[in-house]
């Protein structure tokens, strides 16, 4: 991972020195374990702040929306797909960007480590596939593949789909993984079981909107949940209002979501609301053979009409 | 300090003591509705309290505001347009803009709703005694200024103040509030009215034509340690009137403003209307320009 950091700093410094970009967006070291803070660097001498490790799960494409400057952006696989989506949806222009592609090796799920740690987690380091955790009650080591974020463990697009520079050779894509196994498991349940499952899943929600605000797809000036004239959904903790919010938020991501996991990572209550967006991703794949943000030349599935589109759900 | 503070009895900490729930509005009935502006977006509502003794509890000073409450729709903070010297009713002039105001504009005489207040502080009437008062108003922010003018012109109060000048402007003659009262005040000799409109094609328009700031510069008296200016209007008007007043010699703690901000509770608890340490709903809405300059411009 440290070679990634050096390469990112070197590319960033060159881009800033040659004035090809006005700023580089990346991560800087966090002040608590397993956390990094998205930041921007404007001067070449400040590039040493940039780091890269397995705690860069927040999607940096979220910080590009409506920006006018020329920007260098560090982007792992899913980030790059969201950049493609941003360009297709006119939220940023391709010529504004110098994309520093990062072949991704998967991000750590801090909640898994906290659950398996004996005491309070004080420090987490990683070296060649192993994660070393220093806790208040002694040290522990885990295999990285056991502590990955769920979406990273089934990710098949680790390499950036679009980039101007690459920090390393592409990694080998995972083959023997079924990204939609969890969705299929839910589909197998009965209607009553599924209703109860989502009741339980969304119960802890405190309506803080971290899932919406961490997602690059959510850039509406006034979100439907904030609208007062007319008011679509209640603002209280009533379970039906909470469910309505999550249902409609997920529905707005249909055919656009890259399953980067930033929503689940940002949620203070650790809710796996990705189960909603992944169902829509699975449907888009089954019905239209579409995966979001793979190339700049094809329009998203729900944005284009083809004669052979399925209409089995229409009377 | 708001009037409620002086009457607050020595408090004990028992639970039942919270008889006065500050979120509970006084029930009122709409007694009269008059359309003020030609575009029908401004209406003055006259309310009467359903419980007569609520009126005494609602004793207010000119410059305060209240939360108009419609059950099932919401609340809106509106400056009190009626004057403390007018008894038996309270008046508010409402501009049709959002959810609650639009609903209110569709209500009829006789409908029941609620009023919560009086809220916020008021124009510093004790300080203004014996001083010259210049009132500069614009558009529909003239409500609390009407309350102030009627308060000052009341026979019991007029002699407390020296000369009173009023500069009040609106986009066109049809947009002026309280037109007949304006004509009455124009005729009086103990108040100098300078009514203006941004523009008009009406040939027999007898008063000024021009924006409020230039008219203020031409007609308003120079400022000195005995003169205060109360300014209330849209931010753009305040922004261009301030240098004019400075040129006329009004220094910043002689320029009094009534600010507007998003509000919900109106009693200084929900934390939304803050500008720096001050809360517009409780420490304001009335501030001197000197105070406003010491706080962040977040209104």
């Amino acid at each position: 991972m440290s070679t990634y950091t050096e390469k990112i700093r070197e590319i960033a410094q060159r881009l800033l020195k040659e004035c090809r970009v006005e700023m580089v967006i990346g991560f800087r070291k966090g002040s608590v374990p397993m956390m990094n803070e998205p930041c921007f660097v404007r001067k070449p001498e400040e590039v040493d702040a940039l780091v890269w490790d397995s705690n860069c799960g927040i999607n940096l494409a979220n910080y590009l929306t409506n920006r006018k400057e020329k920007i260098g952006i560090v982007a792992k696989g899913c980030d790059s797909r969201n950049i493609v989506n941003h360009i297709l949806e006119n939220k940023i222009k391709r010529e504004q960007l110098v994309i520093i592609g990062v072949p991704c090796q998967g991000m750590i799920d801090k909640r898994k480590i906290v659950a398996m740690a004996q005491g309070e987690v004080l420090e987490v380091t990683e070296s060649d596939g192993q994660v070393h955790v220093k806790t208040a009650a002694g040290d522990q080591t885990f295999d990285k593949k056991d502590v990955l974020q769920q979406n990273c463990s089934v990710c098949v697009h680790r390499n950036p789909v679009i980039s101007d520079e690459m920090v390393a050779d592409p990694v080998e894509e995972q083959k023997d993984v079924d990204p939609y196994a969890d969705v299929a498991a839910l589909e197998a349940m009965t209607t009553d079981e599924r209703w109860a499952f989502f009741d339980d899943l969304l119960a802890p929600c405190i309506r803080c909107y971290a899932c919406r605000n961490a997602c690059p797809l959510c850039y509406c000036p006034t979100c439907f949940v904030d609208e007062a004239k007319p008011q679509w959904v209640g603002k209280s903790q009533d379970p039906i209002d909470v469910r309505t919010f999550h249902l409609l938020r997920a529905y707005h991501c249909a055919g656009r979501c890259t399953d980067c996991g930033a929503c689940e990572r940002a949620c203070p209550m650790g809710i796996n609301m990705r189960l909603l967006t992944k169902k829509l991703n699975k449907d888009c794949l089954d019905l239209y053979g579409w995966e979001a943000g793979l190339s700049l030349d094809s329009r998203p599935a729900l944005d284009v009409y083809k004669p052979n589109d399925t209409n089995d759900s229409i009377l | 300090m708001p009037v409620a503070a002086q009457q607050r009895p020595e408090r004990t900490r028992s639970r039942e003591e919270f008889v006065q729930n500050p979120y509970l509005p006084y029930p009122v009935r709409i007694d009269d509705i008059t359309v003020e502006s030609e575009d029908r977006n401004l209406k003055t509502f006259k309310f009467v309290f359903l419980n007569p003794d609520d009126e005494a509890k609602f004793a207010y000073r000119a410059g305060q505001f209240a939360e108009l409450s419609i059950a099932g729709v919401g609340e809106i903070p509106i400056g009190i347009a009626s004057s403390p010297v007018e008894k038996g009713f309270i008046k508010f002039t409402i501009n049709k803009a959002g959810v609650v105001t639009s609903h209110l504009h569709n209500m009829q005489v006789g409908d029941i709703m609620g009023v919560r207040g009086p809220l916020g502080n008021w124009y510093p009437w004790d300080l203004l005694e014996g001083k010259n008062v210049l009132i500069v108003g614009g558009g529909f922010a003239f409500t609390t200024l009407r309350s102030s003018i009627i308060y000052m012109l009341d026979p019991a109060n007029r002699k407390k103040f020296n000369d009173i000048n009023v500069v009040y402007g609106a986009r066109s003659p049809g947009m002026l509030l309280y037109k007949n009262e304006l004509i009455e005040w124009e005729k009086r000799d103990d108040i100098n009215m300078h009514i203006t409109v941004d523009g008009t094609k009406d040939p027999d328009w007898k008063y000024n034509v021009g924006f409020v700031p230039p008219i203020t510069e031409q007609k308003a008296p120079p400022g000195d340690e005995n003169s205060y200016a109360i300014v209330c209007g849209p931010p753009i008007m305040i922004k261009f009137t301030q240098p004019v007043l400075e040129k006329l010699g009004y220094d910043h703690d002689h320029i009094i403003l009534s600010l507007e901000n998003r509000m919900k509770c109106g009693i200084g608890m929900c934390g939304r209307c803050g500008i720096g340490r001050e809360l517009v709903c409780k420490d304001g809405p009335v501030f001197t320009l000197a105070q406003v300059n010491r706080t962040p411009k977040e209104y």
Partner: protein, 56 residues
């Protein structure tokens, strides 16, 4: 949308889509009867309903 609602536990028969031009009155009658029959078969909706806010 039908598949998402079904997935989260609401019977898919409760939501129907149809393309009917204003000229196709017979199709409109057919679709309305069909949908009414299906919803009646399912009985009153108890899931996605908010009688009043269930809060403190």
């Amino acid at each position: 949308m039908k598949r998402l609602l079904e997935y989260t536990g609401i019977e898919s028969d409760r939501l129907q889509f149809s393309w009917i031009s204003s000229a196709e009155s017979t199709k409109f009658v057919k679709v309305v009867n069909e949908v009414t029959a299906k919803v009646k078969a399912l009985g009153p909706n108890k899931r996605f309903v908010k009688k009043e806010a269930k809060v403190a």
